[in-house]
């Protein structure tokens, strides 16, 4: 069967060149970078080189990069590490309502430990207004967290403006860039952020490795204690092969980003144009300020899990924010935050392109989609609109997502 993978925001394949770079560090140059003897030096040098490469991707200094086990860990470290370091200064944290679960769940946990969180609303394209930050800042605010780009709808946030506000008030500013690394030019100096999370497997690196940029002078508490690796901020023997792979992936992204992003964007725009020709279809997110590989659609009157399953039968991999497809049976918090009612979140479809996505793959999706949507709409009781049915009906039955 034809296989068309269009869920690159979920994960990417590891670049062959990355795999090659990693290979020697499993069985051959397996030394522990912390060890003193010369054999281990090879490993240490490889880690140093990778740190320089990852730093280079975001215009940071090598000693501002801490390797972690994932982007999620980097987010946990940023949020909880800042909270614990500053808990005597204050207990108030500001975060956007569309953050990734790695941030949101960390915040929820902090709430249980006495911290207070203010969630910032966003407009209907997913953009958090810098003014909203200004209004929410209190004397005891210790951290502001706004993601660099949204993982579901691809909206790029005005990080620079927000980081400036934080800087003025001397509040730590964190941005999760796990979804945008390798897709957008990120310059931490220019952005003015104090903390920034990165993830390798979203940019053709291996899974299980992430990094946190910590600007000089930004204090955070470690979450993992032990042998004192990574400047005591993240103990545990370095995952040398993965770190090397991350470095290589960062190096490739830096060198090749301009060329592959351009092709991606053209193809993505072509996809959007074609898909919007399907009746009662909308684009979620911002028309321009979005990741170059992201398209998020909304097909009225149908449900996304069925849509994903149908596409899967045709060999196409994509994702949805529908409640029915989530393990918690909750609709996507991002799509509800941009003001979509539950029944509309139901019909969402996220398509994310990769570097190697070809036009024929997009055409294959474009050929499949209208028929699939049409078939599901034939099954749906809602044909022309939700309103007339919804209003005049007294709903029976207690079918609720809990």
């Amino acid at each position: 069967m034809k296989r068309v993978y269009l869920d690159y925001a979920s994960t990417t394949p590891t670049d062959e060149r990355v795999v090659e770079a990693m290979k020697p560090y499993f069985s051959e140059k397996f030394g522990n970078p912390t060890s003193f003897y010369s054999f281990a030096q090879e490993a240490k040098e490889a880690v140093d080189k990778a740190r320089t490469e990852v730093a280079g991707l975001i215009n940071a200094k090598p000693d501002e990069i801490i390797f972690t086990s994932s982007g999620t860990e980097a987010c946990n470290l940023a949020v909880k590490g800042t909270a614990f370091r500053n808990k005597n200064k204050g207990k108030h944290i500001i975060a956007s309502s569309v953050e990734h679960f790695a941030v949101l769940e960390s915040l929820k946990w902090l709430e249980k430990h006495g911290f207070e969180i203010t969630y910032l609303p966003c407009d209907k394209s997913g953009i958090v207004k810098p003014e909203a930050i200004e209004e929410s800042i209190r004397d005891d605010t210790i951290l502001i967290s706004v993601m660099h780009a949204n993982n579901e709808i691809g909206t790029l946030e005005p990080i620079k403006e927000m980081a400036e506000i934080a800087e003025e008030k001397d509040i730590t500013f964190f941005s999760d860039a796990c979804i945008s690394n390798g897709l957008v030019d990120i310059d931490v100096e220019e952005l003015g952020v104090d903390l920034l999370a990165l993830s390798a497997h979203k940019m053709y690196g291996p899974k299980g490795i992430g990094a946190l940029f910590i600007a000089k002078g930004t204090g955070i508490e470690p979450l993992i204690h032990g042998g004192g690796q990574e400047r005591r901020l993240r103990s545990g023997t370095e995952n040398v092969p993965s770190i090397v792979g991350f470095g290589k992936a960062a190096d490739i992204a830096k060198k090749e980003m301009k060329s592959y992003v351009l092709g991606m964007e053209i193809l993505r725009n072509y996809l959007i144009e074609k898909v919007l020709r399907i009746e009662s279809t909308k684009l979620n997110g911002h028309p321009e300020k979005r990741l170059p590989n992201n398209a998020n659609f909304n097909f009225a009157f149908i449900e996304g899990e069925g849509l994903i399953l149908e596409l899967d039968f045709s060999g196409i991999s994509a994702s949805t924010g529908s409640a029915c497809s989530s393990p918690t049976l909750e609709p996507s918090h991002v799509l509800t935050s941009i003001g979509l009612p539950h029944e509309e979140v139901h019909g969402s479809l996220r398509i994310t392109l990769g570097r190697e996505t070809k036009k024929e793959e997009i055409d294959y999706l474009i050929d499949n989609l209208p028929g699939t949507v049409e078939r599901l709409r034939r099954i749906s009781p809602f044909k022309g609109g939700f309103d007339d049915y919804v209003k005049g009906t007294e709903w029976k039955g207690g079918h609720k997502h809990v």
């Binding site: 009157f301 149908i302 449900e303 899990e305 069925g306 399953l309 039968f313 529908s322 409640a323 029915c324 497809s325 393990p327 049976l329 609709p331 009612p341 539950h342 029944e343 139901h346 034939r378 099954i379 749906s380 009781p381 809602f382 939700f386 049915y389 919804v390 009906t393 709903w395 029976k396 039955g397 207690g398 079918h399 609720k400 997502h401």
Partner: protein, 131 residues
Amino acid sequence: MYSEILLDHFRNPRNMGRMEDADGVGKVGNPACGDVMYVYIKVGKNEKGKEYIKDISFETFGCAAAIGTSSMVTELAKGKNFEEAENISKSEVADAVGGLPRRKMHCSLLASDGLKAAIEDYRKKQTEKGE
């Protein structure tokens, strides 16, 4: 995740579509919490004068499990008298489709509730007529 039977009912739903001259219509679920099912029935009388489901169809806005179990419930109910039809439980529907993942059990409740609601609607209309 889904059984072959369920996938078959999802892909080739039986008795699907609106019934314009239905004797009873059951509307269950709620678009505001996601999922909705409409069940349409046509009622006949058997030799003993007992009412039974002569024809049935459905429309569903929901996941693959909701669509698949909707289709199955119409198959199970067709030709049954009211008592039998009302006794079709959600687990019976779930079993008939070859089992459901735990978090999808509530989708089969939608199907069995929809059927009951259609019968109820028919009865209500009958009493209204009688009045």
